[in-house]
Symmetry: C2
Amino acid sequence: MISSIARVKNTRSLIKSRMSSTAALVEKTRGTVKPEKVLTKETMNPFVRSSEYAVLGALPSRAEMIKKMLKTDPEKFKFEDVVFCNIGNPHIFNQKPITFFRQVTSLCENQDLLKKENREIVSQLYPEDAIERAETLLHHIGPLGAYADSKGVYHIRENIARFIERRDGYKSDPETIFLTQGAGDGIQSVLELLNQPAQKTGVMIPIPQYPIYTAALQLMGAEPIPYYLDGTNQFALDLRRLEQSIKEARQKSMDVRALAVINPGNPSGQCLPIENIREVIQFCHQERLVILADEVYQENIFWPQQYPFHSFKKVLKSMGSRYDGQELFSFHSISKGTVGECGRRGGYMECTNVDAEVLQELYKVFCIFSGANIQGQIMVDLMTNPPSQGDPSWPQYKREVDGIQSSYHRRAQRLAECFNRLEGVSCDEARGAMYLFPRIRLPQRAITEAVLNGISPDSLYAMDLLNETGICVVPGSGFGQEPGKFHIRCSFLPEESLFDRLCKDIEAFHKKFMEHYKD
Amino acid sequence: MISSIARVKNTRSLIKSRMSSTAALVEKTRGTVKPEKVLTKETMNPFVRSSEYAVLGALPSRAEMIKKMLKTDPEKFKFEDVVFCNIGNPHIFNQKPITFFRQVTSLCENQDLLKKENREIVSQLYPEDAIERAETLLHHIGPLGAYADSKGVYHIRENIARFIERRDGYKSDPETIFLTQGAGDGIQSVLELLNQPAQKTGVMIPIPQYPIYTAALQLMGAEPIPYYLDGTNQFALDLRRLEQSIKEARQKSMDVRALAVINPGNPSGQCLPIENIREVIQFCHQERLVILADEVYQENIFWPQQYPFHSFKKVLKSMGSRYDGQELFSFHSISKGTVGECGRRGGYMECTNVDAEVLQELYKVFCIFSGANIQGQIMVDLMTNPPSQGDPSWPQYKREVDGIQSSYHRRAQRLAECFNRLEGVSCDEARGAMYLFPRIRLPQRAITEAVLNGISPDSLYAMDLLNETGICVVPGSGFGQEPGKFHIRCSFLPEESLFDRLCKDIEAFHKKFMEHYKD
């Protein structure tokens, strides 16, 4: 522990000395000497400067550095390798891509494989339905190397609409669907539409939250308005807290325009009950808020009987014509679920009850930046329309998906049990998503030491965990947490074979940490 | 013509009636009735509302509509199909992707192809060097489905740096290179860094210009400051015009922070001479402006002996230590050149002499949105490191690239000749890029009619051209043009076999148009 604290101190003095040299430079420029650079941290966009993003912040930077050091000096740390539990990145832990999906993408890339003269050889390598799917996709896409419609290939949007209809039982219109480069891209575009730079635009966001919301709002100079999920009750969404939060924001003259909700929850892993979703919709309708429903974990559901996934679209449509004007943007992604194709950057958003002129404006923005990449779009097509029973690829597809899902469930439970065995730690089970968000009751001495060193107490815990065990998690403060409560977010994505070591290391570390800081 | 003008009139009255119904709705909301939607064109971000993007504006929308109508009623127009000359989208005109590139991407997608047991079959379909390249890339990338470093895969950044070094003869550091989703993505990020929302931030942009600059600046509430390229002199960049432009902007209290330059030019097709680039760098250094060099057409050079491409980086580095502080962002893309992979969204930017802390902040923004898609990154690797002489794929690669380049050259010349034969039209040859930007001296009656109908005269011409011939171009006003001068931008990408018809149709249309509007 001592070593990591010394390091933090060094970093802080380094930062201080850098700041003073910068200050000197700025001072200099007030005289006659021209400063060297036009663009410095001092003169850049202050919204960019002040935005924060913890998922890839100080902890993961340190983790990357340790990883490099281990390559040249494998004995430097007490562990052999870094375990990246800071990010929902399944393939990094040897989760295999879905075979059928990659067969199709590979055929789309090399159309020589689809030529008649190669058919005999190619059918030794590819199943018939993969070849057919590639042919269908290419027929509709046209040349793979050309710009697609900036909203996305129409055929793919039609397939997504059918997927949504099967899921919800309500109509979906392909014209209201936009293909995106991951969910974050769509979220940013919608926040951009909502922002009124001349006013104090506010968007309600859950705390804890996936920090893209805060970051995107900060980048555009808008205000995140936190509403706290109830950590004592499985991070439920409590209506009174919403009311309290909007009241306070409006008292500060904020123009509160939208509410973001993450379901299943990230980092908190809850699945909202249908009654709760209804309440949220009523609240937004009453308060005239656009709903942003981040549903990227809709496939990661661990107790489908008790805690199923309900889409906001489905619940909204079930509430009758009174809510026909309620605007809803729903986001989905290929990065999560059993697909896990994070590197490809793909996703979609569905715009329900959104004004036609606004959709046209959104389309214009997509045109400016040329829309989503086609390789991501193809993966969205595959995710929303996988092989069905009877297809040649069905048995393998089913086996792969079931294998991933059941393993996620086992890993989630096992890690929660591990955390719950620790002194002062309480951890809800994950009902959805890919993370646990245990609360850690830190000893007062640890809190004091952290505060003295200018870092949050959960960061102190997480940094020590990393330095001692190689396990990289994200401090709860990166997602927001109730004052005085400390958490970490830890993904349960490492391969099951690593779990013995993972749990043993966490337990040993925690014991030592508590011992060291005991009051 | 009459028909299209009638249509314009109808559209205008439709817009008017829509506006008044919206006004009525807004009026209503001032009373007790709540408006239906929270987010309307009136209440959305005004910067988004007022941003413009002509490349995919009214003309292409109409073109898409005509294309649909032709499907159900092939007799409806005098032509059989729409020819999309509005956008630099080579593959739409049957330009084949580079075989080697797609072999590698297809192998990367389906790693089963690289397994030992499949090697024998696979080597009947793929050359050895494609298999090797895929193996090397995957070795460095790790799992293709995982998030890459948000800056891009380090190995690919190293390869890009080596490409830049070979091109320029000066060192390039992989740490200053960011992989992007097309050049536009990088341009937007840099403009975002430069923008100071509390001040009137200005960025100098060439007129005519590719409109992503104006659009991105408008979206963030910053000001494009135009400098006119000299249309009477091959759209040369005249230093006096730069000086004039910055002087006027500063008189209006603009904080002018950067200058964007497009070389080879889009839409104007010029290649800047080395002396001119030097002057621009001196000007920016003198005036303390960051340089944004958009060099996406660096491979589309038609007279390499007389008008070669010089990168801003190379010229800057050649100017000695006095310019060591001059900040330069250079952009490149996989969408243009002979690659033409527009749909994949890939590119890179190199940041020369940029402050280390600023690079760190830029990295943070890339982290928030998870960086560039890996399929685009792989294509950047291939573009910057294609097969070399001696490799099994070299002969085919060389044949393909030479074929595309020489055909571009022929098409560019042929289309310029066609335009120059027309009454009142003058058209510079294209020295680079993919477009011609002929100036059209329109009859006064056409100008008056356009003005009466509330559209720009060049839009009237372009809309009539579309309705009469199916050829879709972009009106010059979409790129900006000197007051009173009218242009269109027309790509020369259609297949050579279409050129007879294309030129014949343009000539016949132009004659009829001039006849109709003659004074």
